[in-house]
Amino acid sequence: MDINEALIKYCLRLGDDAMILGHRLSELCSNGPYLEEDIAMTNISLDLFGQTRMMYTTAGEIEGKGRTEDDFAYKRLEPEFQNVLLVEQPNGHFGNTMARQMVFSVFYYHLFTELKGSSNEKLAAFAAKSLKETTYHMRHACEWIVRLGDGTEESHWKVQDALNEIWSYRHELFEKDEVEETLIENGIIPDSASFKPAFDSSLQEVLDRATIVEVTEGWKATGGRRGHHSEHLGHILPIFQSIPRTYPNSKW
């Protein structure tokens, strides 16, 4: 695969992950469990949208066909989105939201830590900037998992259930296809296998503190990177894209 083609796809994948999760968290605006967490969810959502914009803009610049961040966000259909299935999963109760957030932010924390040394200036700058924000997101999520896991009997079993449900979705973050392989071979992105042990031990440390003895999982999620999504994305996009689709090319 041509390096530029791989770069465009990789940037779009990072952008798609951040955008769909950013949208999910924005659903909690005015629906958070209480005011401070409501604000926290929307703050994290904003950071993710900022990261999305950087990646979509970069993809458009490399592509050189004049496509903007808005074109990528609003004018693509489900199969064109290549986000992992993890980020589409519904918010559920707060334990579900935090379990999803922990897996996502721990992965991205480790990825960005490596990616900030990329030979590609744009990716390196993006990773260095996003790492600072992701570190805050990760601490917030990890602290919640501990508080819920090591909390009451009810909060413990609820977060245990949430972890059991989301655990199958973490594998997809480490999938590699031609896009990643091309970029790894050319020294542009790290091989995710290199930080898998660190990712696993980070999660284990949180589980230990949260008094979660074991997380069970029955299957491995896959498909998002090929545009094969769960039902949920089909419900997210019509809401996310409703204004630009109703009033195409309008400005405000």
Binding site: F49, A128, K129
Partner: protein, 164 residues
């Protein structure tokens, strides 16, 4: 002549307040990275505080409008992301302005050694009564760049400009 003009641009930029925290200027906040003057354009290079900071658009509009009103030719805003913005760029005078305004200024040195959970409580003094007996309510406050704290002595809640 050129140097004077360049200095004038910086002087004008120093009068443009942060839209969310009007006591400090965009220069003090550290978002202005470079000023260039060509015959046709005034190029201002900025960097966002947080990737998704909604105030950035207001920064851009304010900079363009203020400079163009002062007669500078076509003002162009360039955005860069590297080096990533850090609260370490804020000087002592700006920190003091924040404190007087009621926002606890960011502590110096942004590298928190803790990773998954942070390195535990650090003392943030209450900007109202200066008590060190305060507690964190939420890492995410009224804007992306602030955390919410409570003072256990004067019982006021306050914003802390968090380190990044």
């Amino acid at each position: 002549m050129f140097k004077e003009k360049l200095a004038l641009v910086w002087e004008i930029l120093e009068t443009i307040p942060d839209p969310e925290i009007p006591v400090i200027s965009v220069v003090e906040l550290g978002v202005i990275r470079k000023v260039e003057l060509t015959q046709l354009e005034t190029i201002i290079t900025i960097t966002p505080t947080y990737s998704g900071c909604p105030a950035m658009k207001a920064f851009e509009d304010d900079i363009i409008q203020t400079l163009e009103n002062k007669g500078f030719p076509k003002v162009v805003i360039k955005t860069i992301f590297s080096p990533a913005w850090t609260t370490d760029w804020m000087n002592d005078a700006a920190r003091e302005k924040l404190r007087i305004f009621g926002i606890a200024p960011p502590q110096k040195g942004t590298n928190d050694k803790g990773v998954l959970f942070g390195s535990g409580p650090k003392q943030v003094n209450c900007p109202q009564c200066n008590s060190g007996n305060t507690e964190l309510i939420s890492q995410f406050g009224s804007t992306a760049c602030k955390a919410l704290y409570k003072c256990n002595d004067c019982l006021e809640t306050f914003d802390y400009f968090k380190c990044i």
